[in-house]
Symmetry: C2
Subunit: 428 residues, 2 copies
């Protein structure tokens, strides 16, 4: 296929007529498909059903330290759960605290605490004239939502194939003490699927911000969420590298089992330096007497250890891999060579990122919606929902069945074609 | 027995010698007993073990609205859990949101939100020169801990047998716009066990504070925690009364199943007016995608409905009642008529409140500790841990076995006697 931009007006019109016919035929089916959110499918959830059998009325519900998990106590999390999540996070057990059911909640609470109480004794952010965060784009809409909610000004930083543009990050944080944080999804990033290079992680570990209370919000949401057994991204562990650099207080690390077991009913954790954990504990002491230890115990009994989690994630991958491939193959087959879009082929995570021609993303999402396919709202991958180029679209292939996904991808590529053709036809 | 204050020095010395001998004999046993926290006992926890069988790998884990509880979603809580907790809270289902595992956490988050974001559009408390809270005393140490953590100034208000001194409450809130809240445990109060009178609830419902963002933090922790079948406290439902008074925004109501099923692994809820729920949802939307719906489902399947909860609470009462009676009978038998202390005989809740002679509470707690009995720290029932009279001691009879409780009560009453004797002997 030759690129649209090289086609004559007649060729474009013929392409449009063919696309329109196929689009209308699919639209007439009245489908209702959803590629909008990174939700596990039913088949993936079924993989964890055995966890519901791990505790029953006859179970010993005592944890390793001898505490009855049915009662109050153990603010830090039960030892065996700390060890399991520490292994998952590649940090020592002493560097991690187990929280409630979701890492999003931990991130929200962490920003909330910084706003009202400050970070490690520094002025509460809420008392400063302004607070700013760096936001690698495209990124995760719920990260941006938290900082927007608290009135924090967000500054876009391009996300390159190696991670955030570190020249820009270093320059910005070195000169502006009001920049207090950066949102990062270092592995199988949401939505592009890229993983940070060693150089990027090392530059983060050595970062010297003007603000002493600057923190890297390192959301390791997809750390073990590989699609392939034999081709996996490996990234350096940031807390370890920051310690080596004598800079360990700069890291807030978040992790959860949301996309390992049951989203919303998993366990979440926070890993950080001794000083940061002490700071977190000062609030935790008043916030809770202890998180859900029975759910912690349930997770540990189900997985036993990190090998158990790895085996489980292979089963998850076996379900997700064909879905990712169905989408990327559909994109390649229908859009390859047309030069009206580019997309990522992630080796893990939950998303494929699609870049349309400038000014086309909103129209493509609307067009797909018209034929029954819900995509993440165009712009959602940028702070304030504003994609300056109106180009990026996040594709979430996990939830639909493979058959639904094939139909959804077809509608999506046709929407891309028709909106792009419209753009070229207005100028030719 | 005649009152100590009427005894001669010789009589007091004889009483001291007898008490000292008994105390030393008990101390020599090297006991390790704990009456410090309101923790359910193992036998109470066992009552809820069946909940662990309610969901297993073959269960249908879909809630009434058709959503798979294993996946993301339903920020407000599943309908059947909202209905159950609404019944427990005596409010309509639409007035309640289900949160995570603990109401303490919800209260902390609610104050945190007010600090950083304000209440219903008003200035964030964190930006005000000062924020004050009214604290009925004696009261719950963890309430006072939250307001202390956020630097909120706490003002003591006497807790009378009918509830907080409402003349004082009305006068204070009407004249000081910096007073933003009051901590209340309206039923089987912690620690005195009293329940608010109808007049008190009605005066709260009609309260007219100077601050438009003043809220009553109504912690209904013991709403269904009766000790007796035939002699139960009933209080007016505040949100209903506040609605009648056109004053519904003044109420924040908190409830949880912590002392119904498993503390820390229960479900918590927040009930309030439409405007207050909208305010809470604005933050919730960014804080979470949904709380633990599987745990909500587990609770609903275990109890089925409010009748199920009531039957369950009768079993709890059967375990708790003899413990409360063992303590109050021990106090009556050993201290009756001596006029060196007074105590409450609650009909529900988790605590007995003991008032010693002024200046004796700390010494009594230390004396009991020396013989192996841990009590809640003297002063803990007051803001900043400062009981101005050093008189109040909270007794928590739930956790020890009945045998342990008899021994612990004996050590406690001997500690009261010896410390009181010391006080009288220094002046005689």
């Amino acid at each position: 296929m030759k690129p649209y931009k090289e086609m004559t007006r007649e060729e474009l019109l013929a392409e449009k007529a063919a696309g329109e016919a196929r689009y209308q035929a699919l639209k007439a089916k009245g489908l209702k498909l959803d590629m909008s959110r990174g939700k596990p499918s039913k088949a993936q959830l079924d993989l964890s059903n055995g966890m519901m059998d791990c505790l029953n009325s006859d179970s010993d519900m005592t944890c390793e330290s001898g505490v009855d998990c049915r009662n109050y106590g153990i603010m830090d999390g039960i030892p065996e759960a700390r060890r399991l999540l520490a292994d998952m996070s590649e940090v020592p057990e002493k560097d991690i605290l187990i929280y409630g059911n979701s890492s999003l909640n931990v991130m929200f609470d962490t920003v909330a605490r910084a706003m009202s109480m400050g970070v490690c004794g520094h002025t509460p952010w809420g008392l400063l004239e302004k607070v700013k965060f760096l936001c690698p784009v495209p990124g995760y809409d719920r990260h941006f939502g938290i900082t927007e909610f608290f009135g924090i000004e967000m500054i876009n930083v391009p996300l390159l194939p190696t991670g955030p543009d570190m020249d820009m990050v270093e320059q910005l944080v070195a000169n502006d003490p009001l920049i207090k944080g950066i949102w990062c999804v270092p592995k199988y990033s949401n939505p592009t699927g890229i993983s940070y290079s060693d150089e990027t992680v090392l530059r983060f570990a050595h970062l010297k911000p003007a603000a002493p209370d600057f923190r890297i919000f390192w959301d390791n949401a997809y750390s073990i969420h590989h699609l392939y057994d034999d081709d996996q991204d490996v990234i350096l562990e940031l807390l370890t590298e920051a310690k080596k650099a004598g800079n360990e207080d700069i890291v807030y690390k978040f992790i959860s089992t949301s996309k390992v077991t049951f989203p919303g009913s998993g366990i979440a954790a926070f890993a950080a330096s001794e000083a940061n954990l002490a700071d977190a504990r000062r609030a935790l002491f008043y916030q809770t007497i202890g998180h859900d230890k029975l759910n912690q115990l349930r997770h540990v009994r189900f997985f036993k250890d990190m090998d158990g989690i790895r085996e489980h994630m292979k089963k998850q991958a076996a379900i997700l891999r064909p879905k990712f491939e169905a989408v990327t193959e559909g994109l390649e087959r229908e859009l390859g060579g047309l030069e009206i879009g580019s997309w990522t082929k992630p080796k893990g995570g939950y998303f494929i990122s699609f870049d349309a021609l400038d000014g086309c993303a909103k129209k493509i999402v609307a067009k797909a919606k018209e034929a029954g396919v819900t995509m993440t709202g165009a712009g959602a991958t940028y702070p304030y929902g504003k994609d300056p180029k109106d180009s990026n679209i996040r594709i979430a292939p996990s939830f639909p069945t493979p058959e639904e996904l094939t139909a959804a991808t077809e509608i999506f590529v046709l929407s891309v074609k028709l909106v792009s053709l419209e753009k070229y036809l207005t100028v030719k």
